[in-house]
Every structure is written in structure tokens, then in C-alpha cells.
């Protein structure tokens, strides 16, 4: 009995500080944000209860829907671009399919060590209307008014950002996969090869199944990271021109901090959380099914 009490006491003692911090830093703002999302509040005075109005307004706002579409494209490029590419690079480096592996590893990982704002400035210096690439095309085509039209098209303005995100974050996944690939015992792969397994069979039958949990975890990171994408896009385009490259985090920021609509902004942030949780649950559902099928 005494032991049981001591155990429980030590559990509480160890978890309480963390729990208190979690409640104060995570739960309180979330709960407060949920309650605020049903109100109209400019930051002063008493918030006015408006029910679901903020949510209805947001979900019927074409700017929000375009931002959501951009976010889903970022999710798409993260899950189906950064993760497969990261895995392919890690696999090539791990299996020593190219010489100078360390050089490539550093080069691929380098972008993630640079601040998002610096990355944004860098790419703007190249592709903006006053950038190097534009100047070069102007010289070649002898057209001093040439600009990259993609940036001014509603449906395409996000594409350069998707490319930069792919360039920037693939290295992170590569390093994660590389570290996990190194955990697979070389003797298993050697044994498979002695048994006559081809490179493709080794990859399909041994490496991919053992990497599956890591891939699923990184997919969760990719989804949640994509839905809260803000810094790089804000520094690159500010969501413009004319909201073309806007994402929902920028939509939330603008409404909250530029228009002082705290209730509205809270509702947008709750929508981001719900979307993130929803997509992650869908992913987990499929992950479990695949895991069950693989036994």
C-alpha cells in the first residue's frame, strides 16, 4: 500500500509541472480561442456573442476558400512531393548509389538551415519582376516589359511557392529517413541479397515495411506543418497579389491583426485545427489499415 502510494505520489510530482505548463500554454489558449470564435470582438470592451456567424462567414468567403485550396496544394506537395523525394534521396545515399554522398547530403539539407525569411528574399531576388531571372529573359527576348505571368494568375501564383517549399523541406525528411535507414541491420539486407533478392525486392519487401511507421509519422508532420504554413509565404508574397497566394494562416492573421476581428480570427484558427486533426485522423485510419494488412 505504501509502495503504491509512493508510486502514485511520484507520478503526480513528475507530471504536474508539465501538466500545468500544458494547461496554461496549450489548453487555455485553445479553449479561450474556441469561446472567442463565437463572438465579435475588436480587442476592447465585452465580446458580443454572435453564434456560428463567424464560421458561416468564413466558409462562404471566396478568399478563405482560395486560401484553403492553396493549403491543400501545400499538403499535396508535402505528402506526395517532399516525403517521396526525401525517401528517394535518403535511399540513394544510404545504398551508396552515388559517389560524394556527404556532399549531396549537405546540399539537400542546407535549405532547411536557412531562415524562411532569407529563403524568401533569395527566391524573390531571382524571380521577382526586378529579379535576375526576369532581367535575363528581358535581355534574351529583347522585351524590357517581360514579367513572369504565373505570379499574376489566380490559379498559378502559388506554384513558385510550392516549388520553394519542396526545395526547402525535402532535406528534413531525407535526414529523418536516412537516420532510420541506418537502423535497419545491414545483415538482413545482405541475407536477402544472398537469397537472390533484387534491389527492387529489397526495397519493397524489407526496407519499405520497416520504414512505414516513420513515413506515417512524417506524413502527420507534413500535414500539420502544411496547414499552418505562414512564414515563408508571408515573406515571399504576403499572400498577394490580390490574395492569389494566400493561405488560411495568413487569412487568419490579416483578419485578426490588421482588421482587429479577434472573434473572426479565432474561428479561422479553430478551422485550421479541425482541418489538421481531420486530415491526420484520415491518415491514421489508412495507416492502421495498411499496418493490419501487413500483419
Amino acid at each position: 500500500m505504501h509502495n503504491k502510494f509512493r508510486k502514485r505520489y511520484s507520478y503526480w510530482l513528475l507530471t504536474t509541472p508539465g501538466l500545468v505548463v500544458f494547461l496554461l500554454v496549450i489548453m487555455f489558449p485553445v479553449v479561450y480561442s474556441v469561446s472567442l470564435s463565437f463572438t465579435e470582438w475588436s480587442g476592447y470592451g465585452t465580446p458580443k456573442f454572435v453564434g456560428m456567424k463567424n464560421y458561416i462567414d468564413i466558409l462562404s468567403d471566396s478568399i478563405f476558400l482560395h486560401g484553403l485550396r492553396n493549403n491543400l496544394l501545400i499538403v499535396f506537395i508535402s505528402v506526395l512531393g517532399q516525403i517521396p523525394l526525401g525517401f528517394i534521396f535518403a535511399y540513394i545515399l544510404h545504398r551508396r548509389m552515388v559517389s560524394g554522398g556527404r556532399f549531396f547530403q549537405t546540399m539537400i539539407f542546407l535549405p532547411i538551415t536557412i531562415s524562411s525569411v532569407v529563403v524568401a528574399l533569395l527566391w524573390n531576388q531571382i524571380f521577382s519582376a526586378s529579379g535576375i531571372f526576369t532581367a535575363f529573359i528581358r535581355i534574351i527576348t529583347e522585351n524590357p516589359r517581360y514579367v513572369i505571368g504565373m505570379f499574376e494568375q489566380k490559379n498559378l501564383a502559388i506554384v513558385p511557392i510550392l516549388f520553394v517549399l519542396l526545395w526547402m523541406h525535402t532535406g528534413t525528411y531525407m535526414v529523418i529517413y536516412l537516420a532510420n535507414l541506418q537502423k535497419i541491420s545491414p545483415s538482413i539486407i545482405e541475407a536477402a541479397q544472398i537469397d537472390g533478392a533484387s534491389e527492387g525486392q529489397t526495397l519493397r519487401r524489407i526496407i519499405l515495411p520497416s520504414m512505414f511507421p516513420v513515413i506515417a509519422t512524417t506524413a502527420i508532420f507534413a500535414i500539420s506543418g502544411s496547414l499552418k504554413a505562414f512564414d515563408l509565404i508571408y515573406a515571399m508574397t504576403g499572400g498577394g497579389p490580390a490574395h492569389f497566394s494566400e493561405v488560411i494562416a495568413i487569412y487568419m492573421y490579416v483578419n485578426t491583426f490588421k482588421y482587429y476581428k479577434y472573434g473572426f480570427g479565432s474561428a479561422a484558427s479553430i478551422i485550421i485545427i479541425l482541418l489538421s486533426v481531420g486530415l491526420i485522423l484520415i491518415l491514421q485510419f489508412f495507416t492502421r489499415r495498411i499496418e493490419r494488412r501487413n500483419g
Binding site: S130, R145, G238, K258
Partner: protein
């Protein structure tokens, strides 16, 4: 027993953390009253500390103040761009507004001024009103309050002209917009930009052009009526101002990719003589003083946008607003408020204004044209004296309607919205948010 001792120790340490933190804060607060004769005040200012021109100029002003008032110690905190406003909002909401705060006369900081968080400066200002430009003494509150003492008159639309390029192309300063449009072809053929502008940050077209052109198509009286709800932004005369922007864009008068260019790029093109005209605010003179060579200063002039057909506003008019200035926290006691006023008066009054004028600003305080001032400063002062002034839209329209309008101007230039649609949306939002209907 040992477990209990460790538990108590950890508990004590956890309790000590906030205690240590609060002790630090108390020390800082204590510094606020550092002696019976010395008053310490916190100041929140809008300044880009990396700006090689404005930051040292501001420091010169602070040094002059410290020399004159050694008994007042000012502790500065700076913000710039959107982050300035975000922090101001956070400080105001958390009740931690600094003693002296940079504020705007119009809607930009209305969330602070209209919440009763700052003092009305009229009791201190009494008797000095005539020393300022009349625009700077316009009431800022509903009951005529003056929340901040404007430092400058901010002219937001000037057509900077490179007369050397004009001459080389065989052109003269256009008197009408049609003449300007006709020049476009010649200027572009020479590989130059007719009107340098950069509108990636979306406020530039509205602040540096739309207000001025709306004054031309609508006239000041109509604009007053529209703000009061007695006229509508959906009316043809306001729509006409938007059609002009669309026309200039469609006829390639602006910089190529005007909506992709970050603010400052237009100035760069102009200084490097890639553009014949530059549309920008009067504050740009501050940069031109340092960026232009002496020979360039001789042939660069400050002009107004040419007249338009069926103009309702005044010929040669521009858009202007009283600039920002310092206000003081409503919580300051009498002694602190007196000290705060000394800084506010020094900054926007004769002494600070003379220093700022020397560096290319156009103070709201009436000063004589300084002898030996940079030619660009003299040209700005002369321009301000002759140009009739209309409204700057973001000074008279609320943050949300103007934010939507800025974006809609871009949409209109891309052909996604018509001028009428942009005008209608502005009218709807102004009616709902600003007029409260």
C-alpha cells in the same frame, strides 16, 4: 523520507522561479523613478532601425533633446511595418501601453485613441495652434480631441519627374492625362518606364495614387459627402477614378509587373534613370536627398499628376494627411505628463521640426525655408506651398474596407473585377463598418 525531501526541494524551486521573475520586473519598474529630480519615460516609436537615413536622423533629434532636458530619461522601443501595429495593439490590450506612443491622426491607430487610452493634448497645445499647418490641427477625436501632435504633413502623391530624360526624348511635362498617355509609347520605345510604381505591398496604389485621382474626379466636397454617407462610392465619378487606374495599367504606363514589385523598387528605377516619372509620397524626398547626385537634383522636379478630362477637383492637386506624432498614455500623472509633453513638443515643435526639415521632411510646424537646405528639400517645401490637397483614402476610411479595397485594386488591374465592382464593394464596406449602417 528522502522522496519527500526531494519533493519539497523541487516544489520550493518551482515556487522560486516566478518569484525571481517578478523580482526582475520590480527592479525594472523601479528604474522608472530613478531619483527625485529625474523622470524616466518609456517611448514606443515607429522606426526602421536598419534604415541608414532615418535612424541616424532620429538619433540626432534624441541627442538634442537629452542635452536640453538631462532630467528626462527616455527609454525607446521600436517597431516597424505591421509588427509596430501588432505590438501596439497587444500592449494596449494588456494594459501595458508605454508612457509615450507614436500614433496616427486617422483610422490607423483609432483602436487605441478611441478606447480612451491616451490623453487629449489640447490643454498643453493651447495657444500654439496657429504655429502649425491647418491640416495638422484637424480634430482627431469625436469631440475635437488632439491625440497626437503631428510631426509632418504627409503628401502621399507626387509625380517626380526626370526632366533630362524628357528632354532627350523630345517631350515636355504633360498638362493633361491624354498627353501623358501619348508620351507612353515614346518612353517605352526608348526602353524606359513611363510611371515607376511598385504595388506588391498593395497599399501603394491606394495611398500614392487613388486618393489623388479620386480628388480629381470627385472633388473634395463630394468626398466629404461620401464619408458622411450623403454620397456613394458607387457613383460614376468615383468609378471614373478607378477606370483611370485601370486604363494606365492596361496601357502599360506603370512599371512592368507593378503588382509584383516590392515598395522601393519604383524609386530604384527612377534614381537609376530607368523611369521618366515616379509616383510616390513626399517622404521619398528623404531618400532622394541621399540617393540622387548633385547633377540629378538639378533636373529632377516635383510635379502633380496632369489634369484629367471633366475634372471636378482642383488642377495640380495631390493627396495629403497630417502625419503621425507622439501622444501620451492616459495613466500618466501630472509630473510625468509634463515631462512627456516636453518630448512631444520638442519633437513636433520648432526644435525637432527644424532638425527633421534639414533631413528632408516636411514638418507640420510652420518654419521658414531653411537657407542652404538640400535642393530636393527646397523643392518639396515649394511643392507643398502650391499644391491643393485632397484626402488620403487610408487616413479617412477604416482598416478593413481599405484593406479589401487595396486588394481589389490589384484584382481590377488583373482584370478579375471591374471598376464598378470595386467601387460597389468599397461602398458596402464603408457603409457597414465606418458609417455603422
Amino acid at each position: 523520507m528522502r522522496t519527500t525531501r526531494y519533493g519539497l526541494l523541487i516544489g520550493m524551486l518551482l515556487l522560486l522561479v516566478p518569484a525571481v521573475m517578478f523580482a526582475g520586473a520590480q527592479r525594472e519598474e523601479a528604474a522608472g523613478q530613478s531619483g527625485p529630480d529625474k523622470i524616466s519615460l518609456s517611448v514606443y516609436h515607429y522606426l526602421d532601425q536598419t534604415d541608414k537615413t532615418t535612424a541616424p536622423n532620429f538619433q540626432e533629434l534624441v541627442d538634442a533633446f537629452s542635452k536640453q532636458y538631462p532630467d528626462i530619461e527616455l527609454t525607446f522601443e521600436f517597431g516597424y511595418g505591421e509588427s509596430f501595429h501588432n505590438k501596439l495593439q497587444t500592449l494596449a490590450m494588456s494594459g501595458q501601453l508605454p508612457d509615450i506612443i507614436l500614433l496616427y491622426p486617422g483610422k490607423r491607430t483609432a483602436q487605441v485613441t478611441s478606447a480612451g487610452l491616451v490623453k487629449d493634448l489640447r490643454p498643453w497645445l493651447q495657444g500654439h495652434e496657429d504655429e502649425f499647418a491647418s491640416m495638422a490641427m484637424q480634430p482627431q477625436g469625436k469631440n475635437g480631441e488632439i491625440w497626437e501632435l503631428p510631426e509632418d504633413i504627409s503628401i502621399t502623391s507626387i509625380m517626380y519627374t526626370n526632366n533630362k530624360l524628357l528632354e532627350q526624348l523630345g517631350l515636355t511635362l504633360p498638362k493633361t492625362m491624354d498627353e501623358l498617355l501619348a508620351q507612353g509609347e515614346i518612353i517605352r520605345k526608348a526602353g524606359l518606364i513611363p510611371l515607376a510604381m511598385a504595388n506588391k505591398d498593395d497599399w501603394a496604389m491606394q495611398s500614392c495614387f487613388a486618393g489623388m485621382i479620386a480628388e480629381r474626379t470627385c472633388g473634395l466636397q463630394w468626398f466629404d459627402a461620401a464619408l458622411a454617407g450623403k454620397a456613394s462610392f458607387s457613383e460614376p465619378r468615383f468609378v471614373r477614378s478607378l477606370e483611370i487606374i485601370k486604363q494606365l495599367h492596361d496601357e502599360n504606363m506603370f512599371s512592368p509587373g507593378v503588382n509584383q514589385l516590392a515598395y522601393g523598387q519604383g524609386l530604384d528605377d527612377f534614381v537609376n534613370e530607368r523611369a521618366v516619372y515616379l509616383i510616390d509620397g513626399g517622404w521619398t524626398v528623404n531618400q532622394l536627398v541621399g540617393e540622387l547626385t548633385d547633377s540629378q537634383k538639378a533636373y529632377v522636379t516635383l510635379e502633380s499628376f496632369p489634369d484629367i478630362t471633366n475634372q471636378a477637383g482642383e488642377s495640380g492637386s495631390t493627396s495629403a494627411t497630417a502625419g503621425q506624432g507622439f501622444g501620451m498614455n492616459a495613466k500618466l500623472d501630472e509630473k510625468q505628463a509634463e515631462a512627456a509633453w516636453k518630448w512631444i513638443w520638442f519633437y513636433s515643435g520648432p526644435e525637432g521640426s527644424a532638425i527633421r526639415q534639414r533631413h528632408g521632411r516636411l514638418p507640420a510646424y510652420n518654419l521658414d525655408t531653411p537657407k542652404g537646405a538640400d535642393p530636393m528639400i527646397q523643392k518639396l517645401i515649394q511643392y507643398a506651398a502650391k499644391a491643393p490637397m485632397g484626402y488620403v483614402l487610408d487616413a479617412v476610411i477604416g482598416a478593413e474596407p481599405i484593406g479589401v479595397f487595396n486588394n481589389n485594386l490589384q484584382q481590377m488591374m488583373f482584370g478579375n473585377k471591374t471598376p464598378q465592382q470595386v467601387a460597389d464593394e468599397l461602398e458596402t464596406m464603408v457603409d457597414e463598418i465606418d458609417r455603422g449602417n
